[in-house]
Symmetry: none
Subunit: 127 residues, 4 copies
């Protein structure tokens, strides 16, 4: 996994974990990878992963069994979806519209690109 450098790494990892949950790969009461495990896999400092898990724990997306590890919360999908949707509608969408306007891009063009995107990503997504 490679990280964008305009966004904190721990947040990018949080997004990654959230997506795994959203995609149903990690489901309710599954154990998520240990801090050390994930840190090694992603080649980051364990502190960074720890921060991710703290964040997700605060959002009640995962919970902690002391000495054992972190686990996916029962209503994790709902939580993640709510959080994601709010940010999308409040922040991403207005900026997206502003860009459409300033760059004079038509929604039809977006539609076409979206279809191409879907075609390209659907199978790999569900792999």
């Amino acid at each position: 996994m490679e990280f964008k450098d305009n966004e904190p790494i721990y947040l990018q990892i949080a997004a990654y974990v959230s997506e795994q949950i959203l995609l149903g790969k990690w489901t309710a009461d599954d154990k998520v990878p240990s801090v050390r495990e994930l840190a090694v896999a992603l080649q980051v400092n364990p502190n960074t992963v720890m921060r991710t898990y703290e964040q997700l724990q605060n959002q009640e997306v995962i919970y902690n069994k002391r000495g054992i590890g972190f686990f996916v919360a029962p209503d994790a999908v709902k939580k993640v979806k709510a959080l994601k949707k709010e940010r999308f509608l409040q922040q991403d969408l207005p900026e997206f519209f502003r860009n459409l306007f300033l760059l004079d891009i038509n929604l039809d063009e977006i539609q076409q690109r979206y279809e191409a995107y879907i075609a390209q990503n659907l199978e790999s997504e569900t792999r």
Copy 2:
């Protein structure tokens, strides 16, 4: 002008200047406000504006006449549009599509929201 605190001020100012150019309010070979002038207007430190102008100069959006000031580059609109479009296509759009997919949002819904957005913002934009 008020600044978000999750993005560097000097970049927000750069975006502001770029938009002025994109909207045609500052045009080719116009003098942009002097560093001090803009700093006072925006209530920031001159160094911060200086940094903005350095950035825009590197992007060849503005150029410098020594001892006189900064001026809008002849092809500034093209430059700004190219930079903005690239970031939009490379970064914003894929993430946007990913969100649509993950949140199971239909493009039709986006369309409706866009029309509402346009209706709300068109007049204020061209003021």
Copy 3:
């Protein structure tokens, strides 16, 4: 290290860093001194060193690992050499030739002076 006062300090530091790389003293993926560290060593303000590193990062001579520090880019030597050579051929050399012409100096004389220069500097350079 002492600085000339007709050239910005941050550029002189950049030249210094570039030379270290060119001379092979700092090599690919080495960590360069931290901003604060180098600032103390050179007795300048950290901001000044920061500016140097920004510059070198833009030139892709060094890269950043967030929270860890700056590192010499894998192809830093190539980059530095290319940048230096371009400036040399485009700017320095034509002016040099013009001076030879205007001052009526022969290349033979230059050759002799060069040999003297080499003799004087070779050992100290490779120290």
Copy 4:
């Protein structure tokens, strides 16, 4: 005339004037262009040309007849040559040699480039 942006314009103009004298185009006790005249020709602020002339007057390359203008000093060629040569030997040459060394360029290559330069510039120079 176009100016490099790493050197003060007034010094570039001074260099230009000096070269005219060195090339014998303006000779002893000739009147040099008036400040205003030269400023218009070079598209710079008259103050800038004034500064050039002050500089050259300090170096005793030109002298002033009040109310009439500036004139080439009788020994201007000697003066210019001495000044130019000193800077060349003290500053330009050592830096030149350092570049040869760091970029691993052979004097033979310089020789070849010099011949090409001469061939290309001799006629246009004496036009």
